[in-house]
């Protein structure tokens, strides 16, 4: 299907965003302490859909909350009352603005694990009810490597609407999915803006969008051959190199918590007197207790084995199981790591060591 493209400018784009916020439940990056997190917004003054990628947290919590109440329970003299908790505040029809391409891709990656065998219907509903509006980056940051991975960043269909900065102040708005096409046409933006401010793209537009992509793709410092990494890692379970790359790790788990594709969680209870709450919260395979069993047996008792699991899960196991890498190359783990470990460096260093063996 051929989706529509429109040409506008900064003022038109902002009008488009304001219209979305006025008519839809909208989430967008909101700045707090220098970091941007996706929050519900009603006006452009509260948020910045062009927030810098290095300072923006992922959209994962809008689909997989950081800590969600599973249920409440009360022990009474007549028995235990279990109640499912509050209504899902992420289940409504909504639009997310300012999503980075890597972050949008992470949803396609997460779809695989949430939709196999037991279907996570909460997640699925949140996915179906969401329109993703994504601004394409103009330039890669130092930690970025999305273009090196197993997805087509240029033609990504994990997002519904893409916003591309053109030359001479022009901005292109392009539908990428049927959902995006229906969404844009439903906004009726051309009724409110003049032909100069908002018009259908002409023959030259596709070429200009391509030029922008080429300039963006040319700005990457980090490059890797993911197929080579997939293949080499799959053959070197026992390499001592995992000890070298994980030596500095303080097992703080930050990398997993900020990662848009990490999806491990824990189930925990908190009870005071007769009333308790059960939570489902983010967890990480870097935690020493993650696989620790009652009685003391732990298949991954030491740090390098946990790092091996992290690297292998991302570049071997998930790919084997679900056909995609469990990494989108966003670099969020690297930016947030207190000891400056980079997943890019880890998998490349281990792969390189495997060549020497």
């Amino acid at each position: 299907m051929n989706f529509s493209t429109f040409v506008t400018d900064k003022a038109g784009l902002h009008k488009f965003y304001e219209d979305i916020m006025a008519s839809h439940e909208t989430f967008a990056p909101v700045e707090k302490f220098g970091k941007f997190d996706f929050k519900k917004v009603t006006s452009l003054s509260e948020c910045d859909p062009e927030s810098p990628i290095a300072k923006t947290l992922s959209i994962k919590p809008l689909f997989f909350p950081r800590s969600a109440k599973v249920m409440k329970y009360v022990a009474t003299s007549s028995g235990t009352d279990v109640s499912e908790t509050d209504e899902d505040h992420l289940a409504g029809n909504r639009v997310i603005l300012g999503v980075k391409h890597c972050d949008a891709r992470s949803l396609q990656v997460l779809d695989k694990v949430y939709n196999w065998d037991y279907i996570d219907t909460d997640y699925q509903k949140r996915r179906e009810n969401t329109v993703i509006v994504s601004t394409r980056c103009d330039k890669a940051e130092t930690h970025c490597f999305c273009t090196s991975l197993d997805y087509d960043v240029e033609n990504l269909d994990a997002l519904d609407v893409v916003v591309v900065n053109g030359t001479e102040g022009k901005i292109y708005i392009k539908a990428r999915t049927e959902k995006g096409e229906t969404f844009i046409s439903g906004m009726n933006i051309d009724n409110r803006l003049s032909k100069n401010e908002w018009r259908k793209a002409d023959d030259k537009t596709a070429g200009e969008i391509k030029t922008q992509y080429e300039s963006f793709a040319g700005s990457f410092r980090l490059k890797m051959d993911y197929k080579e990494v997939n293949e080499k890692l799959s053959k070197i379970f026992d390499t001592p190199e995992f000890e070298n790359v994980s030596g500095n790790c303080i097992s703080c788990n930050t990398c997993a918590f900020v990662c848009p594709t990490c999806h491990c969680f824990k189930i925990s209870d908190e009870k005071v007197k007769d009333t308790g709450v059960r939570y489902k919260s983010y967890d990480s395979c870097n935690n020493g207790y993650f696989t620790l069993m009652a009685g003391g047996h732990n298949p991954r008792p030491v740090k390098y084995r946990r790092w091996r699991q992290r690297a292998m899960h991302k570049f071997v196991y998930y790919k084997e199981r679900f056909g995609v890498n469990l990494c989108v190359g966003c670099g969020k783990c690297t930016i947030s790591c207190p000891v400056n470990i980079s997943i890019f460096e880890v998998v490349n260093q281990v792969s390189a060591a495997s060549m020497q063996e």
């Binding site: 969600a68 109440k69 599973v70 249920m71 329970y73 022990a75 028995g79 235990t80 279990v82 499912e84 908790t85 899902d88 694990v113 949430y114 196999w116 065998d117 037991y118 996570d120 219907t121 909460d122 997640y123 379970f237 999806h263 491990c264 969680f265 824990k266 189930i267 925990s268 209870d269 009870k271 308790g276 059960r278 489902k280 967890d283 395979c285 993650f290 696989t291 620790l292 069993m293 009652a294 009685g295 047996h297 298949p299 991954r300 084995r305 699991q309 292998m312 899960h313 071997v316 196991y317 998930y318 084997e320 199981r321």
Partner: protein, 277 residues
């Protein structure tokens, strides 16, 4: 996902002190009609909640051929299992999710000789299959159970073992690690007794084994030595699990989800996994 994690309330119908540190909890769903709908096969497991303390993974230790209840045998091993033993009494309520996981390969073992090799609390998952096979006894040929524990006091299901011993169609062999004054049965670790006393028929036999990880390891080595093929050795893995739904990422061994693809594996399948369990 959150809704899938909400347990259903069960009442503890009976608590049986099996050994000094193992108790069996016989459970029934509180809500009428749910027990009949709770269908499971030998080898499957449940998530067992002591509300306020937490949720743990336990195999179902009884067979659905014994209707109206299901058993979980729990050994005091960590925080939640200690809380369970210290606080749960008959009539109390617990939360259950499940059944989860795969089951013993019932089609493959039909028409075969069965050899069960259990150690300690590892008899719990085997008991589900043993009961199932006893209740369908004509489907199987020779039926041997080798069960060991550290001491005679540590043998689980003592009353039921007596019933098995009285059943002439079953061959029961017991062993403990060290001699005791009143003990008349075998003495020695399970793999040793397996090799020296049981001396099983290899042909047309399926072996189902479970016990402490170290016992499973040496038992499998003995079975291979005796000439069993990897595909005829079946075991059930103990891994840390939480969701039971193939989502939380805890039980992964390589790209295998023990909670979905297991916990029951043949040795042929285990050999394909990274050595990390």
């Amino acid at each position: 996902m959150e809704k899938l994690l909400v347990p259903t309330i069960c009442k503890v119908d009976k608590v049986i002190q099996e050994t000094p540190d193992i108790r069996t909890y016989r459970l029934k769903f509180r809500e009428e009609g749910l027990m009949e709908k709770f269908t499971f096969l030998p080898g499957q497991f449940v998530e067992f909640s002591l509300l306020g303390s937490g949720e743990c993974t336990f195999c179902i230790a009884s067979s659905a051929t014994r209707k109206g209840y299901f058993d979980c045998s729990i050994k005091k091993a960590g925080v939640v299992t200690a809380d369970i033993q210290n606080s749960i009494e008959e009539g109390d309520e617990v939360g259950i999710r499940g059944p989860f996981g795969n089951w013993f390969p019932l089609d493959d073992i039909k028409g075969k000789n069965l050899l069960f090799v259990g150690g300690g609390i590892g008899l719990a998952p085997l008991r589900s299959l043993i009961q199932y096979c006893i209740d369908n006894r004509s489907d199987y040929k020779d039926f041997t159970i080798l069960y060991g524990a550290r001491t005679s006091a540590d043998l689980c299901y003592k009353d039921e073992i007596k019933e098995w011993q009285d059943n002439k169609s079953l061959k029961i062999m017991l062993t403990i690690d060290k001699p005791e004054d009143t003990w008349k049965d075998n003495v020695g670790v399970v793999p040793k007794i397996l090799e020296e006393v049981v001396k099983p028929v290899i042909e047309n036999t399926k072996v189902i084994t479970c016990g402490p990880p170290i016992m499973i390891k040496y038992t499998i080595q003995s079975l291979i030595k005796l000439g069993f093929a990897d595909k005829d050795i079946i075991t059930t893995l103990e891994m840390k699990m939480q969701c039971g739904l193939g989502k939380c990422g805890r039980c992964n061994i390589g790209s295998t989800y023990v909670c979905k693809d297991g916990p029951v594996f043949t040795n042929e399948q285990l050999k394909m996994l990274p050595d990390e369990f």
